[in-house]
């Protein structure tokens, strides 16, 4: 499973989102210090009812937690657009 699939499967399982896009933006960053193996930079767009009562910070924390420290640690840059 590549990282895009890992992200998708973890978030799908945790939040049953109405909308989930995992966009690999790594190639935009080729040549930049954080670039590695074509799987370094991701944008995740997710919409799920579970986020409705959470603050912005807690929404992000919930996503980080669902992904797990190991996966988060292997991604150089993870941009999140979270809505409820």
């Amino acid at each position: 499973m590549n990282k895009s699939e890992e992200i998708r499967s973890a978030l799908q399982a945790e939040f049953s989102p109405e909308m989930l896009e995992v966009i690999n933006q790594s190639e935009n960053h080729r040549g930049h210090g954080g670039y590695s193996d074509g799987e370094s930079h991701f944008l995740v767009q997710i919409r799920a009812a579970a986020f409705a009562d959470m603050s912005r910070v807690n929404r992000h924390r919930a996503v980080h937690k669902a992904l797990g420290a190991d996966l988060v640690g292997r991604i150089h840059a993870l941009a999140l657009e979270i809505s409820a």
Binding site: G33, R56, V57, H60, H64, V72, A77, A79
Partner: protein, 120 residues
């Protein structure tokens, strides 16, 4: 570890606005840090910058302190506000203005409006 935590606590309490970032406000070394420092500079907010690349203890310590895995991290009056995505959203929504006003942090309202005009 404890040293880093103590150091972080002292820093975020001694300064109204603190940005933990990669590089410095004058020479950011990461696009995300650069974006947040750029917003604060443009809004004319006085802030302390801490370069996590200069201290491995602080680099890990700040992630543990806020339970937040990434840099940059913005603190206002000792409270963690968010990273790059959140600060960007709050800038565009006007929530950052509201927060600064509530906490008596001086900023240039006209500059803040300009950011929103340019990104509206």
């Amino acid at each position: 570890m404890t040293d880093a935590k103590t150091q972080i606590e002292e820093t975020v309490k001694a300064n109204d606005v603190v940005l933990y970032m990669k590089g410095t406000k004058d020479m950011p070394q990461c696009g995300f840090s650069s974006r947040v420092a750029g917003v604060l500079n443009f809004m004319g907010v006085e802030f302390a910058d801490v370069n996590v690349l200069a201290d491995e203890g602080v680099r890990q310590g700040i992630k543990d302190y806020s339970d937040w895995p990434t840099i940059p991290q913005l603190y206002v009056k000792g409270e963690f506000v968010g990273g790059c995505d959140i600060i960007t959203e709050m800038t565009l929504s006007g929530e950052l203005d509201t927060l600064f006003t509530k906490e008596n942090i001086a900023f240039n309202q006209e500059a803040a409006d300009k950011i929103r005009e340019a990104n509206g």
